[in-house]
């Protein structure tokens, strides 16, 4: 029966070719196993390419006092102490080595006067810590990894969407998907699989994320029996473009503030003074996003409902050198010259802290042979991610996932492909052509309206419940959406499938959000405005129930080692507001 399918076989299959997937593939390949790398877009176009501001690592090239301990402390404060401590520790310790490695593979970062890698300030980082290339750091990173990867004999399958992870009993055995170009199906057999599919922001109306971010990896893992954690924590980046309408949501890098940009309201006040007098404009993202939202609610917003962000005092030459893509973005898309006057900015859905629950050292999920790294994995960033900590996360845990997935593949044989699973996967994806329901784009817009209005920056029990009710109706509609045209390169059909994943993850967000009756990091409850230190001991846990229902629970935050507690001691004042871990 399988004969009618195109089949590829590898020791390790990596799904996703952003920073995490590429780094994983390189490591696995270097470890001597055969590697397949699948991605929905063309190679080099993953979200990682859009990252602007920089990659965080305590190199101490600019501020000599910096150390992994300070980076760890900042990351934990940013995440409000429910991060997986072990991940935050490994990340802080290994990031510098990974950045140097990128340089050794050909990346060309901006330089200090002595000729070392330059680092800039960013929100929530105590020291100047972000290595960067102007405001196109992600491009530098993905191109470096891509060019390294193509010489390692990795087989790349571009414009191929995975719709199901295949299992033999408990164990992973491969993946099933379709070619976007032809609509034909393809089976990948593998001894282990690394998920590196990135984020999920497309269920929100205003987002910095592209069409790819439909929570595919989160849904693939969930449907394969893996656990998701921290789904309530969605980062709304404080500075997205808001005008003109076509560009709303597009990111304005935090590097603008890192380089000295200031936020003001319609009265010309530097309003961050009232929300975080110490860190001001470089406060953590959750705080700045809420501040802009509140200024608007109280009538002090900018013309189009945001805030003003001004960097023009730095002079035209400086701005064009350090923020060239921001300069062009505003000039070309909004007719605003940021060397002469302020930009208008407002919050945009940006990043998902939650995701697949993994073991810190190996990046393996609870499904044997299934690994996850990058934005699709949860735990590292806790309740709120610091800027720059994602790019470093990608290479630190991408490498680990690739290493341990290849070790797993060496120790285990190929598990069987279950023909029934293939048949049902095929039916699931094709079924849409026989439907007579709504246009998938219309259902998608309904979903975006629902999530934006009810599970956004500020949340209440009532609103979240509204979302949960709405989602169950949308789920039915989404099953029935009607597809026009053939299977060849048909975005409407692709959307029909993506919708199922977005709705699944939206439900995970809402159910986790209603469970957390406190405010912590990116999760702000109007009905429970304060953090409760007692709630720092658990993270939300979502998994698939035996009858196909979504099960919501809690997982304990792993206990912190003595050494790490010592590190946090210097920061006791801030810790105790959110957590009892030092008591």
């Amino acid at each position: 029966m399988l004969d009618r399918f195109e089949i590829h076989e590898h020791d390790v299959l990596v799904i996703g070719a952003g920073g995490a997937g590429l780094r994983a593939a390189i490591e696995a390949s270097a470890n001597g196993v055969s590697v397949g790398l699948v991605c929905k877009s063309l190679l080099g176009k993953a979200h990682t390419v859009m990252a602007e501001g920089g990659i965080a690592a305590a190199l101490a090239n600019v501020d000599k006092e910096d150390s992994w301990q300070t980076h760890f402390t900042d990351t934990m404060f940013g995440g409000k102490y429910i991060n997986n401590f072990k991940m935050a520790e490994l990340h802080a310790k290994e990031a510098p080595e990974r950045v140097h490695e990128l340089e050794h593979w050909g990346a060309v970062f901006d330089r200090t006067n002595e000729g070392k890698i330059l680092q800039r300030a960013f929100g929530g980082h105590k020291y100047k810590r972000l290595s960067h290339v102007g405001d196109r750091t992600g491009l530098e990173m993905i191109r470096t990894l891509q060019d390294k990867g193509v010489h390692m004999g990795i087989d790349v399958y571009m414009e191929c969407t995975v719709t199901k992870l295949l299992k033999d009993g408990d164990r992973i055995s491969g993946a099933f998907g379709y070619w976007r170009e032809t609509g034909k199906f393809v089976i990948f057999k593998a001894k282990s699989v690394v998920l590196a599919t990135g984020g999920m922001g497309k269920m929100y109306k205003i987002t910095s994320n592209s069409w790819e971010y439909t929570a595919d990896g989160q849904a693939l893992a969930y449907n394969a029996g893996a656990e998701l954690i921290d789904c309530e924590f969605i980062q709304f980046h404080p500075t997205g473009m808001i005008w003109p309408p076509g560009v709303s949501g597009i990111l304005v890098t935090e590097a603008v503030r890192g380089e000295g940009g200031t936020l003001t309201n319609n009265k010309g006040e530097r309003f961050m003074e009232r929300y975080d007098p110490k860190l001001m404009d470089l406060s953590t993202r959750d705080v700045v996003a809420r501040a802009i939202y509140t200024e608007n609610k109280e009538g002090r917003g900018s013309v189009h409902g945001g805030a003003y962000l001004d960097i023009s005092h730095k002079g035209a030459d400086y701005v064009k050198k350090k923020l060239p893509s921001m300069y062009h973005q505003f000039k070309d898309l909004a007719d605003v010259d940021i060397t002469k006057g302020p930009m208008e900015v407002g919050p945009t859905c940006h990043y998902s802290m939650g995701g697949v629950r993994v073991e810190a050292e190996t990046a393996m999920s609870c499904v044997p042979g299934l690994f996850a790294a990058g934005e699709v994995a949860g735990g590292m960033h806790g309740a709120n991610r610091l800027g720059g900590n994602s790019l470093s996360d990608l290479v630190v845990f991408g490498r680990r996932a690739g290493l341990y997935a290849s070790e797993f593949a060496k120790k285990n044989s190929q598990a069987k492909i279950n023909e029934k699973e293939i048949e049902s996967s095929e039916k699931e994806v094709i079924s849409f052509f026989e439907n007579s329901g709504e246009n998938p784009y219309a259902v998608h817009m309904d979903l975006q309206d629902l999530m934006q209005a009810n599970v956004g920056i500020f949340r209440t029990e009532n609103d979240i419940q509204k979302a949960i009710n709405g989602l169950s109706k949308l789920k039915e509609k989404a099953k029935k959406v009607k597809i026009e045209g053939s299977r060849m390169y048909n975005p409407g059909w692709h959307m029909a499938y993506d919708l199922q994943n977005m709705i699944m993850y939206s439900e995970a967000i809402a159910r986790s959000a209603i469970q957390r009756k406190e405010s912590r990091g990116a999760h702000s409850r109007i009905d429970y405005p304060d953090p409760n230190p007692d709630d720092a001991t658990w993270t939300s846990l979502i998994k698939l129930g035996t009858n196909g229902e979504m099960v919501v629970g809690k997982a304990p935050v792993i206990p912190m080692s003595k050494e790490l507690k010592e590190v946090l001691k210097n920061d006791e004042g801030r810790v105790s507001k959110y957590s009892n871990l030092l008591k």
């Binding site: 176009k45 330089r111 290339v133 309408p245 246009n439 060849m488 975005p491």
Partner: protein, 250 residues
Amino acid sequence: MASPYRMKNAKFKVYRGNASEGQEVEYTVPVEEGMVVLDAIHYIQKNQAPDLAVRWNCKAAKCGSCSAEVNGKPKLMCKSRLDDFNLDEEINVRPMKSFPIIKDLACDVSWNYEVNKKIKPFTPKENTNWIMKQRDVDRVQEFRKCIECFACQNVCHVIRDHDLKPKFAGPRFFVRVAGLEMHPLDAADRLSDLKNDMGIGFCNITKCCTEVCPEDIHITDNAIIPLKERIVDKYYDPFKMIFRKIFGMQ
């Protein structure tokens, strides 16, 4: 702010079809302030033609996915503002001409990925301390801005009119090689590859590539011409050749 555009419509003619057959189909799109061609294509997709194939990712000129020919000119659709067009006339949108069409606006650019594979990777000098001054990497950073939109490949007559693809790597990859050759710490030599396999000699410096580069990379002046000069120095300069013979240098 009252918008002067609110009531206006724009007429588009979009290529619909595959490599063997297709036609331009007319669509009408209501115009909003600040709208770009890609917004219009998305509007058509949402409301009139859900199966219209188009590539895009960033919508901010950072990923190089959305290249197409708008009124016959290679453009990033996400960067092409409608207010730069005369909206009394139809706007024509077609896939890039130099690559085989897959469907509608998506074409097969896989050849470019094959070319890239053949380029000798970055090879650091031994025992370097990794110190590089900013002024020594400025030029390399210019080349590394490339977002692989392939507009330069599309417009270069060696590819577009003469289809010398197997023998010619194209401006995008001259830029890439220049980024490696001018890297202060790179030790590999790609000049013979450039001359032989990559066919840099076919380039007659028309500068069409530079004109369309959305990243403003000075492809011809900063990458191609210096590379050509290095080749001349190496292979054709008699003094240098004798010098090489006497001292046994490569």
